[in-house]
């Protein structure tokens, strides 16, 4: 079964500094991978998804993620954090006939002024 592991439950950065949220995946074949974001008391929004067309995936709001097969990783990055980036971020994989989603446990991102 496919699964994802988010390596940090909490990350704090200062506004204007880079963001790195780490995710490792477990899969015996080419996985489908996503990053979703959840702002406080809101639903989930898709940030980006890995389509296998390119290893560097660009998403919304300046986020990007790099698929590294050799490291089984799909880390999320942003060059410069903004206060509005404070949220919980989920690394997600999908499988099964209905493309059911399997979520990591989440990383809470805090952006300090």
């Amino acid at each position: 079964a496919q699964s994802v592991t988010q390596l940090d439950s909490h990350v704090s950065v200062s506004e204007g500094t880079p963001v790195l949220l780490r995710c490792n995946y477990s899969s015996s074949y080419s996985p489908s991978l996503f990053w979703y974001v959840q702002h406080p008391n809101k639903g989930l929004q898709l940030l980006l998804k890995y389509t296998s067309a390119a290893t560097l995936v660009k998403g919304i709001n300046g986020f990007e993620a790099e698929f590294k097969k050799s490291e089984t990783s799909f880390h999320l990055t942003k060059p410069s954090a903004h206060m509005s980036d404070a949220a919980e971020y989920f690394c997600v994989t999908s499988s099964g006939s209905a493309r059911q989603l399997t979520f990591g446990s989440g990383t809470q991102l805090t952006v300090l002024p």
Binding site: L44, Y50, T51
Partner: protein
């Protein structure tokens, strides 16, 4: 364009009572899903549906019942609520058509079982 809506947004109930959470989508997506979100667990799939009258269990189905008589609606029923079912419940929908299918999430229902 309402997208996907859930009702109620907040619900307090007592142990043993029956509770139904509603989910409605306006995109005519074939697939619909119910997830629960608990601290430290991310979201876990409860049930999903590939089409009207077709449903299947997810990772944590015990204590829940679903139905789907119309494509746009996917209600989730807790037949006899327990405290362990206190959670935030998210409904999602998608076309289910591809390898990198995107699911679209509702705003969630916060359920407290006393």
């Amino acid at each position: 364009d309402a997208g996907i809506t859930q009702s109620p947004r907040y619900k307090i109930t007592e142990t043993g009572r029956q509770v139904t959470l509603m989910c409605h989508q306006t995109w005519s997506h074939s697939y619909m899903f119910w997830y629960r979100q608990d601290l430290g667990h991310g979201l876990r799939l409860i049930y999903y549906s590939a089409a009207a009258d077709i449903t299947d269990k997810g990772e944590v189905p015990d204590g829940y019942v679903v139905s789907r008589s119309k494509t746009e609606n996917f209600p989730l029923t807790l037949e006899s609520a327990t405290r362990s079912q206190t959670s935030v419940y998210f409904c999602a929908s998608g076309t289910g058509g591809g390898y990198v299918e995107t699911q679209y999430f509702g705003p969630g229902t916060r359920l407290l079982v006393l």
